[in-house]
């Protein structure tokens, strides 16, 4: 049925100790063999019997990524009725992701949302009653993924990809215009110019791929927002968290939104922290931009850190914030515990049923408790975040690589002195692959560009 091999993390990307990467398709075993080194070094998965488990390591360039158990299930006795390999990873989220990346680099592609189930159904594995659920999953997840990738891909990366697509399309349209109307458009000599362009496009894509490798096109992690009145100590808290000796992933220019964002690692957990503008103005609180903005931020967030100045009484601004965080995952931080307190833990607990911690941002006190608490709620499953972003990133990396490969093919075709009409297919593939990142379909782009940019016809 299907000729390609797909892979994904089959377990939720969160708190479980073990996560499973599932690979399905005709090349599943071959792909697994590329990344898996059995304890017994002579053992190859290609030659093991179906439904057996094997112990070994996932390696990337001789570097061990994780210690794993691998299960091989051969077609048709598997969930999808295709060859399936499942890799049980033990090393936590980051390691699991790394393993998946290796699997993708070895020839599988990221599964579409709901694709395992879709294959299972189309191959006759699961029964009719489940079919509708399958459709729902496909649709819901796709809508979500699309929205996700578009909302988050902004700034220079988006612009860069747009520009690349435009240039590739222009070159392609010129070629095609010349092939379709040789008497009006002479493409003789364009070959060398195109070769040059292709080399530059490749450079640009490689740069984007480096960006992916250094971080991500889109920020992953738990979206954390710090809320509070001016001078409540928000910035001090952020500095205290960041300033400590921890692994800090710096911002990749242009990949974040236009807000101050910092990324902070707590163990395996990745927090994207946004510092919001302080909420000012007591007279027109509701209408003030500060609140609007903060509200927006907190609505999109996975976790809110609400900083309260313990030495000042609560006012209507605080009321506003407390209302805002009521239905959200939030921690209230009573700051400046070194000064005299006019607000007590009990008082604030009465107003908002949230965890309250005493901290001193300036003295860096109480921060460890905060971290412990975040880890705790995460591992208890009380704090979830959107792991689709991670998949979106992988997908985009895959698309960039495909685009690059296609350009390499064009380059080879030119260098082999092949005729111009053979460039088109790969240039189109490159263009299409980039479109997957920006969420644009191809449709009649080429024909429209030919007519818009070149004067054709009798």
């Amino acid at each position: 049925m299907n000729t390609d091999t797909i892979a994904a993390i089959a377990t939720a990307v969160n708190n479980s100790g073990i996560s499973i990467i599932r690979i399905s398709g005709p090349d599943a075993i071959m792909v697994a063999d590329k990344v898996f080194k059995a304890k017994n070094e002579n053992k190859k998965l290609a030659s093991v019997p179906s439904h057996t488990i094997h112990y070994g390591y996932i390696k990337s360039h001789e570097l061990t990524i994780d210690e794993v158990l691998v299960m091989v299930m051969k077609a048709p006795n598997s969930y999808t009725k295709e060859d399936i390999v499942e890799i049980n990873c033990h090393g936590g989220i980051i390691v699991t992701k790394k393993v998946l990346e290796e699997v993708i680099k070895s020839g599988a592609r990221i599964a579409e949302p709901g694709e395992f189930t879709k294959r299972a159904f189309l191959n006759g594995r699961i029964d009719l009653s489940q079919a509708e659920a399958v459709s729902d999953i496909i649709n819901a997840k796709n809508n979500y993924a699309l929205k996700n990738s578009l909302n988050q891909l902004k700034g220079t990366v988006y612009k860069k990809i747009k520009e690349l697509r435009k240039n590739i399309l222009h070159d392609l349209a010129y070629l095609e215009a010349g092939l379709d109307d040789p008497e009006h458009i002479d493409i003789g000599g364009f070959r060398n110019e195109l070769l040059n362009n292709i080399i530059n496009y490749k450079k640009d894509i490689k740069k984007l791929l480096d960006t992916v490798n250094n971080g991500r096109l889109i920020k992953e992690g738990i979206k954390t927002v710090i809320l509070g009145k001016p001078n409540a100590g928000k910035s001090s808290l952020l500095n205290a968290l960041i300033g400590a000796e921890r692994a800090i992933v710096t911002d990749i220019p242009g990949t974040t939104r236009d807000t101050l964002e910092e990324t902070l690692m707590i163990g395996d957990l990745c927090l994207n922290i946004v510092d919001t503008a302080g909420i000012r103005n007591t007279t027109d609180v509701v209408e003030s931009m500060g609140v609007k903005r903060a509200r927006l931020m907190s609505e999109e967030s996975d976790l809110i850190l609400y900083v309260v100045d313990a030495s000042e009484p609560l006012d209507e601004n605080d009321e506003e914030i407390i209302n805002m965080i009521k239905s959200r995952n939030a921690v209230i931080l009573l700051n400046k515990s070194d000064l005299e307190q006019v607000i007590t833990v009990e008082e604030i607990k009465e107003k908002a049923d949230k965890k309250v911690l005493l901290i001193s941002a300036r003295e860096k006190e109480g921060l460890e408790e905060l971290e412990e608490y975040i880890k705790d709620i995460y591992f208890k499953g009380m704090l979830e975040y959107n792991d689709e972003v991670y998949i979106t990133n992988l997908r985009q990396e895959e698309a960039l690589r495909m685009s690059l490969e296609s350009l390499e093919m064009v380059q080879k075709t030119i260098e082999d002195d092949m005729p111009e009409d053979l460039y088109a297919v790969d240039m189109m593939s490159s263009y299409e692959a980039l479109g997957k990142i920006t969420g644009e379909q191809v449709d009649e782009d080429l024909i429209n560009t030919i007519f818009r940019e070149f004067c054709m016809g009798k």
Partner: protein
């Protein structure tokens, strides 16, 4: 009072390039056929450019011929100049184009029609298609004559409610001042058919005696003539050719146009129809590409027995006085005498999405259509659809399977799939860039792709099919031989390679490997290929192309395999899309309107996403299991 006359199996309405192919196909397949035309003197008329073929259109003509159509043979008989375009590029885009003697072309086609068994010709204006219970029962003419029939093929070209426009002057006529057909549209609308209004245009014709050719570049035909029809060899059709001429517009031409642009019906809003982007008027080009200081103008003879010359590249709907100024500003046309003015023509056509890929209307059984009526432009596009509509009307009446060529089989497949699937906002012109698998769909292998199909249909003779089978066998044998024949690194061979700018051999190689080198080819290697036996040119060409582009051809074949998977997933005619949960609303509406025949076709509808296709696949599997 209507009179009912004899009945026919098929009535073809219109005797242009689509109508002629449709009628010939039906009659040749043994059906009692009548072709009705508004004027017996305008059969296979070429009211615009005097040529057949060109990029991608040449492919269509070759395919028509390979399936047993007439266009290729007719132009081979009546051409006055022949040229292969794009020869400096790859074989996929080599395109044949011939200048026709228009009158000869028309007369020759008429002779063929008149001498075809089972075919009746009739001059009349069809005003009504008779339909009962969503099924065709006959046609009615302006004189109220009724001819009962089982199928109708509409090939009305640009005649429906036609309006010709030159500046402020409009005439309600068809092309060349011929009578328009002013009633049929209403009958079609009554049958629930959605109509569009399109526009096209043609340049002036100028008296040859008033042209100064010394100011122009001569454009001769090719020395080596390639026939359109696979039944002809070069020597069968070789003849003295006439030249075309090339000149240019200039700044002063452009100024005349700009100064008078407000008088153009296109810009004043008098013309409502949408024109083809591929054939823009000169005023369009001057406005849209203001930075170009000149445009090419091709001066082409309309035939051997006329002084009229076609002014290619300068179609226009500007007023007559502006036309005089404009044409006379071009080098060589200073004293031009205009025989016929340039004009734009508006006409009614259909939204082709209402058709199945067989070119039968989805909502009227037995009603087929082809050509400009389907929203395309060009003689070759018309003929291709006419042929398919004709074949499929016949297949229907003979209770046989319709002929549907897919996008991987033929340009005809691409053309029809685009028309019936995609949204059309302008007259559709074939382009090689529309064909995803064009390396496979070459003009040189149209016979290998399609002649067997033509034979199965019944339009290709046993003898012609045998010729093809023999050719295929020789190709296969010769490919096997050159891929195995070893060439040693002898000094003779090394000298030969050096002389041809190719690297010397380090070890022995096969002839096939040498053919793959960009600087070499099959024919060139003859002196060092000692075992070679003489083979016809068409066989040698196939061997060369198949070996030289092998890697690319194989890749395309793999893509075709993928493509076929979705193409072969049929969607039941009566599928209720309301039952397909989880489809997005836009996709559901589009699918309900278009009713695609396969998942492949569904995936090409704009607004249907890959996720919708997944949902559809799951539903179809569910549907299949329920109904098994």
């Amino acid at each position: 009072m209507p009179h009912i006359y004899e009945s026919y199996d098929v009535v073809v309405v219109g005797a242009g390039h689509a109508g002629c192919e449709a009628a010939l196909a039906c009659a040749r397949l043994g059906l009692n056929t009548m072709i009705v035309t508004i004027s017996m003197d305008s059969i296979a008329l070429m009211p615009c450019n005097p040529n057949i073929g060109g990029t991608s259109k040449g492919h269509l003509v070759k395919e028509i011929d390979a399936l047993g159509g007439e266009m290729g043979k007719n132009i081979d008989k009546t051409y006055i100049q022949s040229k292969m375009l794009n020869v400096s590029k790859g074989p996929a885009v080599h395109s044949l184009r011939a200048q026709a003697d228009k009158q000869d072309y028309s007369r020759e086609m008429r002779r063929i029609l008149e001498n075809t068994e089972n075919l009746t010709l009739k001059q009349a204006e069809v005003t009504e298609i008779l339909i009962e219970n969503e099924k065709v029962t006959g046609i009615k003419t302006y004189s109220e004559a009724v001819y009962p029939c089982r199928a109708v093929i509409l090939c009305t070209g640009t005649y429906l409610n036609a309006k010709c426009i030159t500046g402020e002057i409009s005439n309600y006529t068809g092309p060349n001042g011929l009578k328009a057909a002013n009633y049929l549209t209403d009958s079609l609308k009554k049958a629930g058919i959605e109509m569009y209004r399109f526009k096209t245009g043609t340049p002036a014709r100028i008296d040859k005696r008033s042209i100064d050719f010394s100011k122009m570049e001569e454009q001769p035909g090719d020395e080596e003539t390639v026939p359109f029809s696979f039944t002809n060899k070069e020597e069968d059709i070789k003849k003295e050719q006439v030249p075309c001429w090339l000149t240019y517009t200039n700044e002063s031409t452009h100024k005349i146009i700009r100064d008078n642009i407000h008088r153009s019906p296109l810009f004043s809003g008098d013309i409502k129809g949408t024109g083809p982007r591929y054939c823009p008027s000169i005023e369009d080009k001057v406005v849209k590409f203001a930075d170009k200081d000149r445009h090419q103008v091709f001066i082409e003879p309309e035939g051997n027995y006329t002084n009229e010359m076609y002014i290619g590249g300068m179609s226009s709907s500007l007023p007559e006085d502006v036309q005089y100024q404009m044409y006379r500003s071009v080098a060589g046309l200073e004293n031009a005498k205009i025989v016929r003015n340039a004009y734009a023509i508006e006409y009614d056509c259909i939204n082709p999405n209402q058709l199945k890929a067989s070119l039968e209307f989805k909502n009227v059984e037995g009603l087929f259509s082809g050509g400009q009526f389907n929203g395309s432009s060009g003689y070759e596009e018309a003929a291709a659809q006419g042929l398919i509509a004709g074949i499929n009307a016949a297949m229907k009446l003979l209770e046989r399977k319709p002929l549907i060529l897919d996008r991987s089989e033929a340009y005809i497949g691409v053309l029809i799939d685009d028309l019936v699937t995609k949204e059309t906002f302008e007259p559709y012109r074939m382009m090689t860039s529309r064909a995803e698998y064009r390396l496979l769909l070459r003009q040189d292998n149209a016979d290998i792709r399609l002649t067997k199909i033509g034979y199965e249909i019944g339009l290709i003779s046993e003898e012609r099919n045998q010729v093809l089978l023999t050719k295929e066998e020789s190709i296969a044998k010769e490919m096997k031989r050159v891929n195995e024949a070893l060439i040693g690194a002898t000094s003779y061979v090394q000298d030969f390679l050096n002389k041809n700018g190719s690297q010397s051999l380090k070890t022995g190689v096969t002839i096939g490997e040498l053919i793959r080198r960009p600087e070499l080819n099959y024919d060139l290697l003859e002196p060092i290929d000692l075992e070679r036996k003489p083979l016809p040119k068409d066989v040698r060409d196939q061997v060369n192309i198949n070996i030289k582009y092998e890697g690319y051809i194989e890749r395309q074949l793999r893509q075709v395999e993928q493509f076929k998977k979705l193409e072969n997933k049929r969607i039941p005619d009566d599928l209720d899309y309301e039952q397909v949960k989880s489809l997005r609303i836009e996709a559901r509406q589009k699918l309900m309107k278009l009713r695609p025949a396969s998942v492949g076709q569904a995936s090409r509808i704009s607004g249907v996403s890959p996720a919708d296709i997944s949902v559809l696949l799951v539903y179809l599997e569910q549907f299949r299991r329920k109904h098994n």
